[in-house]
Symmetry: C2
Subunit: 432 residues, 2 copies
């Protein structure tokens, strides 16, 4: 098969243009590697007459990307529009309906509508590829689908959002608070004007849904994920974490248990010596545990034009070579729905920070409420004294159940001497 | 295509049995993922009547693995015999000649005879797969070949030998010398009775040859590699490295320059904060730099039954799915021979340790000889005094050329007051 793979690129923002740059700049290299040329045959974007730094003179232009997706002279559509619905979804559906494979970086679309798209692709015998949708340039989708194909995967977790990791790293390096660092990140282009998708954990949760589906060969319902972001992590927590030998990371965790699957995104304290604790700034990292391979970690740039386009073009090379694997690793018709384990059932250790009035008896009250829930304390920290004033105190617990922890925190929060809602961060030792 | 992939396993040692265990234990999972069953159809080993803990009753037995490799009822041969020549080579050649794909973990065979095997496989239209040959369970071959296929790779380097990394880690943790830790490693099964392949860097060099071939889509001649092992690394060097903010790692480095390719295996000092510095014990790690993706690192178990078998079976899943890519990423007929850059041309910083008589003027002589070669010193360490006795002194240099460094070390070694041959370790800042 030496006829060119004819590619239509829908959306010419950062990512779409990056794809065109690689196709143009590495045309020879890609043809050698794929065994046939990869050719940008058509593009679609909103504004035709903007200079994007790539030569579009030999490429068909479409104002309507959905019309492009039906073009019989195109073999595969790269969806680089974004958004979980609307045009992006219509383009993917049209492409599949027209018998074309789809390559996308759109985690929101796939997390919410991936099942339907996967079934449609399977029915049409085309591929739905999404290496770029998770962890940017890190080839984790192929890593799980192909590289670890011999394993039953028990756990996959990682740093899936570079914006959050950048903010947490900066907070630690500078001692500043979340809001200030976020504002900086926005100025530097590491965070969006509306940062909520990133900092509230939604983006990481989209990616976790895809990882879990692939790792466990099942269908994860996005709605069942437990999702917390990093807005409540304070400079104080980061300093205490350091003192206790931990780093705070926003992790997405998919963990298979006998009774179902834990799927959760939240700030975690991980041991400072754990490899994943050392992944800093905008980098992403994913750890997978397989029953034969053990633990494998992949680290790399989680976003940006180059890494995202690299992942998309890798999918195009797969398609050009004729590599076709089911969207979630096994045929969609045989996939089971993953049974979510409620967050209340999580077992593990906890970090708790309280702002209390510094007076005799307060800690006795707090520890009694923990004991009432059978929670045993592992460490306790209070620095300095301020009799009669507010002071932060920090505790870590031994392993306990989340439900017990929540009840205890509610009771503790109701104490007169406890001046703010208690802050809790889960301690995760599963982190590689 | 739903007919089974019929597999013949040549060699039933640790790895061969591991492959059979996965094929048996994950039969359903693998069939789902590959779209067809993967079946162990035949095996061959020296001793038939040994209990290996796997059921061989339904599997054809061959005393002669080369005869098995010609069996028309087999689609693919797993070569798990080992050794760069002899039976292993004959089995692979026979399998390819009989139109079967080959899966092997045999880096020695591929580093020395890979070119011929790759050409033969290509001529016959079969695959030569070797995910398990480099970095054990880490899917780095697929990572480079598929995951980073959109990139021109400029550098690939890593910790490629778990035995050496284990020994270096143990030396640092315990303060003990190489010989002692090696003996322990042999007792624990982390080192062979004859450890020279590992500790002299040969095994890492075999793997580096394969990585370079794939990363650069070229043919690397094993004979042209610069290879040093870790026998000369002393507890003293490790302690000084710590003090200077470095870790000592045996790295394999493939680095593309305008004039050719650096291919070298030697102990390196890497910054203690670099991600690769934190890869400890028997773990392996590989870093690749691509022009679009940036830097990606993969970490995982570098050896052992489970990880090696995991990688082999991943290759079998590829074959069952019909994934076939050229052995070195592009067709063998178009591969260029990589031009080696002589080691003398290496530019970088150096760590030098001398054992000198502690008397006035010695350091002046040493620094004069460095200056004569235009080498500028970055730091100098001497702890304590022992007038008239032998003391270790340590220097690090700014960037200089290896040739100049060698001339300087020769002249320094010839000084009366220098009691032992100078020890030199290269400082590598390219390490991620």
């Amino acid at each position: 098969m030496t006829s060119p793979l004819r590619i239509g690129v829908a959306g010419l923002g950062t990512v779409g243009v990056g794809v065109l740059q690689i196709l143009e700049g590495h045309a020879g290299l890609l043809a050698d590697r794929a065994g046939r040329p990869l050719v940008a045959a058509a593009v679609s974007a909103r504004e035709r007459n903007r200079d994007r730094g790539v030569d579009l003179s030999a490429v068909r232009w479409y104002d309507d990307p959905t019309a492009m997706a039906a073009d019989p002279e195109i073999d595969v559509v790269v969806e680089a529009i974004g958004g979980s619905d609307g045009v992006a979804r219509a383009v993917c559906e049209q492409a599949i309906a027209s018998g074309k494979s789809v390559v996308t970086a759109n985690k929101a679309l796939l997390a919410l509508h991936g099942e339907g798209l996967a079934r449609a692709a399977e029915a049409k015998g085309v591929s739905l590829a999404y290496e770029a949708a998770v962890a940017g340039g890190i080839p984790i989708i192929k890593g799980l689908r192909d590289g670890l194909a011999a394993n039953r995967v028990s756990t996959v977790f990682g740093i899936l959002n570079g914006t959050c990791n950048y903010i947490l790293t900066e907070m630690r390096d500078s001692g500043r608070e979340f809001g200030e660092v976020l504002a900086d990140a926005q100025r530097l282009g590491y965070a969006e004007a509306d940062p909520s998708f990133d900092v509230d954990g939604v983006d990481a949760a989209h990616k976790l849904t895809l990882l879990a589906g692939l790792a466990f060969n099942g269908l994860a319902d996005f709605d069942t994920l437990h999702v917390e972001g990093i807005r409540h992590v304070s400079a104080l927590d980061i300093a205490f974490a350091d003192e206790l030998g931990y780093r705070i990371k926003l992790l997405g965790i998919a963990h298979r248990l006998a009774e179902g699957v834990e799927l959760r995104v939240h700030p975690c304290m991980v041991p400072a010596g754990a490899p994943i604790a050392m992944v800093e700034g905008v980098f992403n990292a994913v750890v997978a545990k397989g029953d034969f391979v053990g633990e494998v970690m992949m680290v790399g740039p989680g976003a940006g034009r180059g890494p995202t386009a690299s992942a998309i073009v890798a999918d195009l090379v797969d398609l050009a070579r004729g590599f076709a694997a089911p969207t979630l690793g096994t045929p969609a018709r045989g996939l089971e729905r993953l049974v979510p384990v409620p967050m209340d059932r999580r077992r593990g250790a906890y970090y708790v920070r309280l702002m209390v009035v510094d007076r005799p008896g307060v800690i006795a009250d707090v520890t009694r409420l923990l004991r009432d829930e059978d929670i045993s304390m592992e460490s306790f920290l209070q620095h300095g004294r301020a009799p009669g004033d507010a002071v932060p105190v920090v505790m870590t617990t031994h392993e306990t159940a989340e439900a017990a922890m929540r009840r205890a925190l509610e009771a503790i929060g109701a104490l007169d001497a406890v001046l703010e809602p208690p802050r809790m961060i889960r301690i995760e030792t599963l982190a590689a």
